[in-house]
């Protein structure tokens, strides 16, 4: 019995640490990436796994504590899986609508981002001030 508790302690600690590391990397991505569209990748994906790992740890801990399966946390996971992609999609949709500048290395030129006269990238934007009134 003691052996089981020690083992479960290890498993729970592992999930907690893995979850926090993923959450940290996701936030790092938010800070390090060059343009809006790349920044979106961090929080939309990595936070899902980060929170998922923490919730797994929570399920394991409370199942052990209460002596029965505790599955409430599954609900949080389901809602997260439904809402994270939707919010990411809406954010990038509004970014496209505002024609936010993108990293100059980005390949592909969707019509949503094409300017009427010329296209703006991160590097060109500051010099293009001659067009301003």
């Amino acid at each position: 019995m003691i052996a089981l508790y020690t083992l479960m302690e290890g498993v729970i600690a592992f999930f907690l640490i893995a979850g926090s590391i993923f959450a940290l990397i996701g936030s790092l991505g938010l800070a390090r990436m060059k343009d809006f569209y790349m920044r979106l990748h961090g929080p939309s994906k990595i936070s899902t796994l980060g929170v998922g790992c923490v919730l797994l740890a929570s399920i394991a801990y409370f199942s052990l504590l209460n002596g029965g399966p505790s599955l409430q946390e599954l609900l949080i996971t389901i809602f997260l899986f439904i809402t994270a992609p939707v919010s990411a999609h809406l954010l990038s949709k509004s970014a496209l609508h505002q024609k936010l500048p993108r990293d100059p290395r980005t390949r592909g030129n969707p019509e949503e981002l094409q300017e009427d006269d010329d296209e703006t990238t991160l590097e060109e934007a500051p010099q293009g001030s001659s067009k301003l009134p």
Binding site: R32, Y37, L40, H41, I46, G52, L75, L113
Partner: protein, 165 residues
Amino acid sequence: MIRPRKWLPMPLLSVLLLIVWLLLMNGVALGHWLLGGFLAIVIPLITKPFWEAQPRIKKPWLMVRYFFRVLLDIVVANLEASKVILDPLGRARPAFVEYPLELQENFAITMLASTITLTPGTVSAHLRMDGTTLLIHVLDVDDIGDMKRHIHERYERPLKEIFEC
């Protein structure tokens, strides 16, 4: 599959509501079943006018396989995205990709777009008004054609099988 009836217009939604209720209550006592069952029948009846016609899921078992495949891919996606983020030189190769859709049902397209956002290095950015092109932003890609084929083989075809054939 349970057939829709007059007093049970959306069986899947009812089952889902019952499960959510039981999970919220965190117990399977008789009272929870009764109240949950009552809500699962009454809520769809009240909200029925607001719902669009939902596509029928033809093959539920493929859905289960799809779910686990996506779950696995989410883990892989996270490891890959972490690698790109932590790369000290910042050698990401981002791209916008226009993906031609074969799916037609709204719900199936939503599933595909969500899957794309949750899996390796891709965020679905925009669905054109005509509903035939999905604009995808990729964090780090080598061969764009290869990536499109991958999405088609791994996600779009199974979804097509689940909903439309």
